[in-house]
Amino acid sequence: MSTHGKPQGLEHELWVPAEDDYHGHPNYLKVYIYLLILFAITVFASLIPNPMIVFIVVFSISIIKASMVILNFMHLKWEPNIIWYMLLLALIALAFLFLGLYPDTVPIERFFVPNG
């Protein structure tokens, strides 16, 4: 049932059946309510007239919401370190993509409409 047919000699690979590897968990309802509150703040913040402030507030709240989903709902808080390292690598890659692309895209004017 739980070993799902491991050949003899390879039982050490299973170590513990997956469905018994449960971890701690938060109060899911509480996390959901916090997410809804943050969501409401986001929507109301978008009504502020200054676009720069809107951007900073809204983007920061998005990061907080995403963190809450990934740490709590996806149980990252209880996952082993290797998962953290992988996600960190993904973030580093994206950060470098943004930093590397920025000087070549935003300050440069390449808009060109050919004649006719």
Partner: protein
């Protein structure tokens, strides 16, 4: 109730289904992250895009965000039921999640229909005629990002459906609920970033 994961004991010990799913999720973050980076850069460059963002349906987007957040909650409740090996509850929560997915797709379809009717398409020939060359790129990116995300919603819903059916039939393989749920949360997180960038920032 255990407060530590058994797999937390060793830094690299984690059941393989979850491991594979996290790896896939990290890869998908880089794919969507690439698109979002492109969007951000162009947004910073072209003020005209802010004007285009006004034409997105904020109400629809808000409802969709609420729907996805709630579906995330539903799917984690399904995981809770799976840990307790309660097949009936698993089915209940997964069906609710799939319902949320269908609502999301329905609202998105309505939005797309409305926007296409206004002339905003992948190539937006109407805008080109008006001389608004740069703004056509906004809509191209909008459809690409939300379209790709929509495809992932469909994929995630299908995965949840098949996993649930398998669990119901065999009364085992409960760990797959968590794996499929992880994928679903990833879809939700991507939308958490897409929503403000596309709908809210003017």
């Amino acid at each position: 109730m255990n407060t530590t994961s058994l797999s937390k004991i060793a830094w690299n010990r984690i059941p393989q289904a979850r491991f594979a799913m996290w790896t896939l999720i990290a890869g998908e973050f880089v794919i969507f992250g690439g698109l979002i980076v492109v969007y951000l850069l162009n947004r910073m460059k072209y003020p005209g895009w802010g004007e285009m963002a006004m034409h997105t349906n904020v109400v629809a987007g808000t409802i969709n965000t609420f729907v996805l957040l709630t579906s995330s909650f539903f799917v984690v409740k399904a995981h809770e039921a799976a840990v307790k090996k309660n097949v009936e509850k698993v089915k209940f929560w997964i069906w609710l999640t799939i319902l949320c997915a269908l609502i999301f797709l329905g609202i998105k379809a309505y939005e797309y229909t409305h926007e296409i009717h206004l002339g905003f398409t992948l190539s937006s020939p109407a805008l080109l005629e008006q001389g608004k060359h740069v703004e056509t790129l906004y809509w191209a990116l909008y459809y690409t990002m939300t379209g790709l995300h929509g495809l992932h919603v469909v994929g995630g819903a299908l995965a949840l459906f098949f996993v649930m059916r398998n669990v119901a039939k065999t009364k085992s393989y409960f760990h797959r609920i968590e794996a499929a749920g992880l994928y679903w949360h990833m879809v939700d997180i991507i939308w958490i970033f897409l929503f403000p960038l596309i709908y809210l920032i003017h």
